[in-house]
Symmetry: C2
Subunit: 499 residues, 2 copies
């Protein structure tokens, strides 16, 4: 270990302290901040972001990176830190500060416009802002640099080094198989089970979720669960991982499965290598790997028959009058009841990825200059009809439904489906190595699975890039088969259809 | 307005953004942070404090202060900003960074030791840390500079420009009158009303407090009330004022009066001049003025007969079985039932200030080198006997009871009693100008009083120093008479005694 390393580590730990403050500010804004605090918070966020950027791009970091390049005294995690830092540093120094500021300002305006445009279903109101963001994001991609697709430079912010050329064939195969599968399932579907839309006390829902996430292994000495309208997880610092769930009286399973989903994220964050948290290699690999954890806990675990059987009596304790007569089979069917919905965030396991592929294709079209922002609504509605067999009656529940485009998260959507595919592939592998987990799940025991994830994924932090990690775990690259097999087997059994 | 001013304002607004982040981190630590997040939070706090200090003491600030000195184009608030900033800047630049760091480190250690020493009632464990802090604080006072008393330099951090020579005679007179008054009252005192120690659902207590603080004018669009074991108020930013109350099943009036007290602080913060919040002249004048607001709302308003009469039926709505039979007179007597307690934070209006004077005299003795840290326990116990007629059976509820000394808040205690004296004097003045407020309070209406406070105190921010403000409002300097008159009249009537 050289003294250059010590100096670099100390600069990076200071940098992480500003990251911690920013994470906390963002958590607080979503969970606690009173509305009138918004303007001052926006200003403070920008000031701290600027300080963060100033420190990350300081010439001294560049010098130390150069000093340490190829230093043979560094261990594997130190080298990983340099690899990740170099990418962060190069990106941050390549993008002109004016452009960073222009994107921050325009997305902040666009978000406010979107807040108004969506309920009014008014795409023309949002259009000029979307055009401006696309133009700025193109400049951003060009500043960062790209090879085959400009879009690759955008995806790189969320799923490093992933390319459209890799995603497109995966997603094509997925759509090709998923569309006929989902049509068959919808053809065989019965009524929506009434317990799904009954009314349940929201405070009790939250109390149940608090209890449930602890059962799943969430460490409440090092984390909290609170309520917010849009569930999310925030890794504030070492020993401080926060998650939220939402609670609505008529959506009991909504709060529960949001909590299990976020717990998947939170368990990953709590399993990262403590020594390195705050440093580049101490973070999670990518959004696609992060989402594999949340999806696996939500679906492969939470929506499995044995786990749902274990959960039901604990729910009945709290909702005796509402759920007293429900059978385990009815409950299992209920939490796996798919619906043709226009809204991505309400979509089920079966159709969720169709919503994602639609967005990916549209984004790619835009950044390949094959599609104009003007064409978005039509493209959206046509693909919706093609993939899901339904047509949005308005833009509110169509092209304007997500905040991602307004806040500049272009190239983000594909990570949701990558997460789904990773989840199924990792889960299959875990089952091969651990044997059938059903009996344990039926007793609410998920610790062997968690241990496997800790060992194979969490404890490595960002030692490996996503593709390398996937290859290490699976022995081959990611493919959609495990997910498609899982869906076919589960929905085939549930609705008595064969594919 | 000159361009130097614009540059200075911009630097100060950036500085305030770091202040906002630090305030939020501190709020979060008390209210939300999971225990394992403590170490990372301490590090981040120190890093942001250092950045804050670096920016406040930057040579450019010094140059701009010099440029703007005596600038006749500046308005009154701009000039006030320069006055306050100059003091902040001079102090921050006079104290060597090593000393700042040593104090931060030693108080952080001492606090951890105190956490253990208090329950163990072990003063010898705490003693070496207290000695070290006193020695560091003496160096601090010498670095900042002082005239008559070294202690003045410490008080200045909480109550700018106040001197021991001013405080001592005020407190002497107070003790001289309060001791015989309280002895008479305790002689005439009946049983403790049983409703004070019954059990009340804590969630309902919090819900009542949430409702109550809104009635008092707390703007919940620009603030929140949460629960924490030690109630406090935090002015995070413009439009973001936060308060907490505590809730224990057997202390119904504890949660209510803590909430009213903190609302007094919060109303002041919410009434500060919006344009200047974050800048030196946009903050509250001093702790003694701040505490005048909290004490006035808690005692002159909240513990008055008419206001307590208004509150009771609203409490009965929530606690019908527990309070159904309580009469307004019993309730009023209950919330004004004094007790000879060893613990300052549990003390009532009558005896609270005796606890404070004791601490002031001990602190002054230490910083005048008339008292050694070794002598603290004896000095404490003797004064306790002299002023309150009781002797602590151990150090836990004696000399070790407060965290102030451990965290380096030496010179802080006097502001509590200054607040009490200010509250009584301001309230008397408000009544002279507004007429009797009893009828309004009996209807739960406190808006005319709030308006008066806004106009006379809140809206000025830090335009005036404390003594100047007091003089402006009262027409003469602060004296203990209004408080003593208030106590004599209230307790005389309550317990049928004359003084």
């Amino acid at each position: 270990v050289t003294s250059s390393w010590d100096e670099l580590e100390s600069l990076l730990r200071d940098l992480a302290d500003f990251g911690q403050a920013l994470a906390l500010m963002s958590w607080d804004q979503a969970v606690s901040m009173p509305p009138k605090g918004g303007a001052a918070r926006a200003r403070a966020g920008a000031t701290l972001e600027a300080e963060y950027h100033r420190r990350l791009t300081s010439p001294r970091i560049g010098e130390l990176l150069a000093d340490l390049e190829g230093d043979s005294k560094l261990d594997e995690m130190q080298t990983a830190n340099l690899r990740v830092l170099k990418r962060d540093y190069d990106k941050a120094t390549k993008v002109p500060e004016d452009l960073v500021k222009a994107i921050a300002e325009e997305t902040s305006i666009a978000y406010q416009v979107w807040i108004e445009a969506r309920p009014a279903s008014d795409f023309t109101m949002f259009k000029p802002h979307m055009e401006k963001i696309v133009s700025l994001k193109k400049q951003y991609a060009d500043a960062v640099g790209w090879e085959k697709d400009r879009y690759d430079a955008l995806m790189d912010d969320f799923e490093p080094s992933l390319t459209a050329a890799e995603v497109a064939p995966l997603f094509d195969q997925l759509v090709q198989d998923l569309v006929p599968i989902s049509e068959k399932v919808f053809g065989a579907l019965g009524e929506t089970p009434p317990f799904l839309s009954q009314s349940y006390d929201t405070a009790t829902q939250i109390e149940f979720c608090q209890w449930l996430v602890k059962q799943l292994g969430f460490d409440t000495e090092g984390g909290i669960l609170e309520e917010s309208p849009h569930p999310f997880t925030m890794h504030v610092a070492a020993g401080d991982v926060r998650q939220t769930t939402r609670a609505q009286a008529d959506q009991l399973t909504g709060s529960i499965y949001a909590a299990i989903h976020e717990t998947g994220h939170a368990l990953y964050d709590q399993g990262l290598p403590e020594k390195w948290i705050g440093l580049p290699a101490g973070r999670a690999v990518s959004l696609g790997i992060h989402e594999s954890q949340s999806r696996m806990w939500e679906n492969q675990v939470g929506r499995s028959r044995p786990f749902s059987e274990w959960m039901l009596p604990h729910l009945k304790e709290r909702f005796t009058t509402e759920l007293g007569m429900l059978t385990p089979d009815e409950f299992y069917r209920g939490v796996n009841h798919p619906e043709r919905t226009l809204i991505r965030v309400e979509a089920d396991e079966l159709t969720y990825n169709l919503h994602v592929v639609l967005r990916f294709e549209i984004e790619l079209g835009i950044y390949r200059d094959e599609l104009a922002v003007d064409d978005l609504p039509d493209a959206w509605d046509q693909k919706m009809e093609k993939y899901l067999g339904i047509r949005p009656p308005d833009h509110k529940d169509g092209v304007l439904q997500d905040m991602h485009w307004a806040i500049g998260h272009h190239g983000y959507f594909p990570t949701y489906t990558l997460g789904t595919l990773n989840a199924a592939a990792f889960y299959k592998k875990a089952n091969e190595e651990l044997g059938d987990l059903s009996d344990e799940f039926r007793r609410g025991e998920t610790s062997r699975l968690l241990e496997w994830l800790r060992e194979n994924i969490h404890k490595h932090g960002y030692r490996y890039e996503a593709k390398e990690l996937t290859q290490k775990i699976l022995g081959h690259p990611l493919s959609p088969e495990p997910f498609l097999d899982y869906i076919k087997s589960k929905y085939g059994e549930l609705y008595g259809v064969s594919f």
